[in-house]
């Protein structure tokens, strides 16, 4: 959690006097000062709780500096100017405002000030295994016109999350914005190409088309043709854009090559133009003339594509009209194999369409019930998604569709660690109880996602150690009738915590029972002991108030009173571990149970004795009478004996 003095990442202080540039995606930036080196021009970008930062952000901080791109220097908690806590990414300040669209750039400026600096930045990112995925005129900054540009921030949100569809290749543009995945550096080259085109013309490409129409146009004509029709371009720029906007990422020039535009221009990949059919095939009212258009239409209208696939119309169209018998044969294999693999008719439609789309268009995204997503973007797509999307992603994971997608479109599997990951995904999804299911999946797949529990009242929690302190703070204003844990927190802890600590969470189904609450108390105690966040008085009191430290099931009132006193003391000291130890003492519990059993036996004895006293009253009266007569008889006998002795002496 942030320092009380409001420093960001323990070092940086917001400079309220200097305005920070506007960033896209609703991210707020502040200029910050590093007291250790006040001459540095630094900026802090406030991340959004509802958007996870890119998990490989820490990679960007290592190694030699990346030219012409702002990379994170620090990532940590802090407070904004209003004192509200948040997580900030500290980076070098941007050189100036975004280049924007409006001024027409000359060829020399495009090459020297945009292409070469951006390509240098992309080359450096590629060397670190990173992609930018946010290149567009609103996220490229320059000190002044005709100065080298700097690529803007790209790590505070999922890849290409805020990227306009026109800057994305068609196979990415179709995907959910948060489900586009990391992609490849070639996708950045594509975005850079569209940015160059926008700056060369001074207007947004395909501005008159909506995103779906622009994507369809790109599929129909090819990106280069769709974007540059009727656009006057210099030969050099046109040649460069032809390569940068190639449909196949393998055909686009590398960033290293783009740093030498003349060489990049000379390298022309002779891509075979896609086959076009003489007669279009209609899928749900969408006419397709090529295989990619067909895959696109099938992805959009899976319910219409399914009967066409099973009826053989698609295969016949591929063979007869498109003239691609090999693709037709492959499709036939995929259909036969899928029908054999999936006996369930309900799942068959989704899987068959997905596999066929992947077979027809190897570049295409994973399509599922009309939704498109990249396999490595599934996690991002889960965040803040509507219920219908969640259900679809759940189906994708339970069907292991991601792995089938990769194998169906013949991509190299090692490009995505999906096949290794999807077993874990299924386990997370199948996990029962509050720490399992979709939420577990969401936090597991998005390691930088803040915990979205309403109990935290908007406090940003990225790490488990922050969770404890955030809950401790929230305890002051929280409704203590509600427990300080919910399914979000349980799933978050299960995703971020160590397996040994969080094992108990997997064994409970709710937080209602005493045993379940004991598991939660033990968990918080172990986390506190392991993470050492200091005393957690608020959270400890909250747990006690919610009966998580329940001593009422102790049988002995004396023990209960003693325990309550000790628990209250531990809560006042903020030591949850001590509370857990007090309440979770097996030996004491056994002694308590044994004492209760002995007490019950003694109570039965006492009740019997008391009842016997009342019951024996007549017997006592009779005995008293008998004893009395015996005494009197004895006295008479003694008197008689006395009389005999007197007579004898007389």
């Amino acid at each position: 959690m942030p320092d009380e003095d409001g420093l960001i990442a323990t070092h940086y202080r917001i400079d309220p006097t200097t305005p920070a540039p506007q960033l896209e995606g609703g991210h707020i930036a502040y200029m910050v000062i590093d007291p250790r080196d006040p001459t540095q021009k630094l900026m802090a970008v406030l991340t959004r709780n509802d958007l996870p930062a890119r998990p490989r952000i820490t990679l960007a901080r290592t190694g030699v500096p990346v030219p012409y791109a702002v990379l994170p220097i620090e990532y940590g908690p802090g407070r904004d100017l209003a004192g509200k806590p948040g997580w900030f990414v500290v980076c070098d300040a941007l050189p100036g405002p975004a280049i924007g669209i409006g001024r027409v750039w000359r060829e020399g400026d495009l090459i020297a000030c945009l292409l070469q600096p951006a390509a240098a930045a992309l080359a450096a990112l590629q060397a670190r295994g990173l992609t930018h995925r946010a290149i567009n005129p609103n996220n490229v900054f320059a000190t002044a016109p005709r100065h080298p540009v700097t690529l803007g921030p790209f790590w505070a949100a999922p890849p290409a999350c805020h990227q306009p569809a026109v800057f994305e290749p068609p196979y990415m543009a179709r995907c959910l914005p948060q489900g586009r995945g990391d992609g490849k550096i070639a996708d950045d080259v594509y975005a850079l190409g569209v940015t160059m085109l926008a700056m060369a013309t001074g207007r947004m490409p395909l501005a008159d088309q909506d995103e779906a129409a622009a994507t369809r146009l790109k599929l129909e004509l090819g990106s280069y043709t769709a974007l540059t029709t009727d656009v006057p371009l210099s030969p050099l720029i046109a040649d460069l854009l032809r390569g940068m906007l190639a449909e196949d990422p393998e055909h686009r020039p590398s960033p290293q090559l783009l740093m030498k535009p003349e060489q990049a221009r000379a390298r022309r990949v002779a891509a075979r133009p896609p086959r076009r059919a003489q007669l279009a095939i209609s899928v749900g009212g969408i006419n397709a003339w090529s295989a990619r258009e067909l895959a696109h239409a099938m992805g959009l209208r899976p319910e219409r594509a399914f009967p066409l696939l099973r009826g053989g119309e698609v295969e016949r169209w591929l063979r007869r009209h498109l003239g691609d018998p090999q693709l037709g044969m492959r499709l036939e294999d995929v259909i036969r194999q899928t029908e054999g693999d999936v006996p369930d008719e309900n799942r068959l439609q989704s899987l068959l369409v997905m596999r066929c789309v992947a077979a027809i268009d190897p570049l295409g995204p994973l399509v599922w019930h009309g939704m498109a997503v990249q396999p490595d973007g599934l996690g991002g797509a889960l965040v803040g998604a509507p219920a219908a999307v969640n259900v679809m992603i759940e189906e994708i994971i339970t069907s292991e569709a991601a792995g089938q997608f990769l194998s169906a479109n013949l991509r190299i599997e090692k490009e995505f660690p999906v096949l290794e990951d999807q077993r874990s995904w299924r386990q997370w999804l199948a996990a029962r109880g509050p720490a399992g299911g979709l939420k577990r999946l969401m936090y597991g797949m998005n390691p930088m996602l803040a915990c979205a529990s309403p109990l935290l009242a908007g406090r940003p929690v990225i790490r488990v150690s922050d969770l404890l302190t955030a809950l401790d703070e929230a305890a002051a204003t929280a409704d203590r009738a509600r427990p300080p844990i919910d399914t979000h927190i349980a799933a978050f802890v299960a995703a971020r915590g160590e397996a040994t600590v969080t094992a108990g969470l997997r064994q409970i189904g709710s937080f209602a029972g005493t045993a379940e609450r004991m598991v939660v108390l033990r968990l918080f105690g172990q986390l506190q002991a392991r993470l050492q966040p200091g005393p957690l008085r608020g959270l400890a009191s909250w747990l006690v108030a919610c009966a998580f430290a329940n001593v009422e099931d102790w049988r002995s009132q004396k023990t209960r009173a003693g325990l309550q006193e000790k628990v209250a003391k531990a809560a006042a000291a903020g030591d949850i571990g001590a509370i857990a130890l007090l309440v979770d003492d097996a030996a004491s519990r056994e002694a308590d149970e044994a004492g209760a059993a002995a007490a019950a036996a003694r109570v039965r004895q006492l009740e019997e004795a008391i009842a016997g006293i009342a019951r024996d009253a007549p017997r006592r009266a009779d005995a008293a009478r008998r004893v009395s007569t015996e005494i009197v008889t004895g006295l008479g006998l003694i008197a008689g004996l006395g009389a005999v002795m007197r007579l004898a002496l007389y």
Binding site: Q557, D616, A617, V627, V632, A639
Partner: protein, 146 residues
């Protein structure tokens, strides 16, 4: 058959007692008269006592008998004559002592049980209270419902 044996022996005892009494009346009439008068409270108590053990009768008889031994000794010293028996019976102290002793014995048999029972009940009440207190403590301590 076994149930009739005590009844038969009791009947035998009655017959033997009757025979003894008859013999006493026949061969020692003064003694019988003296005993009959002196032990009158015991005889009356025996007839009135409905208890199974006849404890009160025994007590009264023992008391009366203790004060009958002296006059009986005097009678026998006077050779068991009828006039001596009448003279002894006409002596108020002799009869009064025997009857008084019987009355005191009877009174003691009435009063002593009350005193002893009251003492014992008080002691048992104290014990019951102590047990109830212990019971209450245990119930409160261990939440054991009644």
């Amino acid at each position: 058959m076994s149930g009739t044996r005590p009844a038969r022996s009791r009947n035998s005892a009655i017959w033997l007692q009757g025979l003894a009494c008859g013999a006493l009346l026949a061969f020692a009439s003064p003694t019988a008269l003296l005993l009959a008068v002196m032990l009158c409270p015991a005889i009356a108590c025996t007839l009135a006592d409905t208890g199974t053990d006849k404890g009160m009768s025994r007590a009264v008889a023992a008391a009366c008998a203790a004060f009958t031994l002296g006059p009986l000794w005097h009678l026998w010293l006077a050779l068991d004559r009828m006039d001596a028996a009448i003279a002894i019976l006409c002596t108020p102290t002799s009869v009064c002592l025997a009857w008084g002793a019987g009355a005191i014995a009877w009174a003691l048999c009435q009063v002593l049980p009350v005193i002893i029972r009251t003492t014992w009940d008080a002691r048992e009440d104290l014990r019951a209270k102590s047990l109830a207190a212990e019971l209450q403590t245990l119930r409160e301590e261990w939440d054991l419902n009644e």
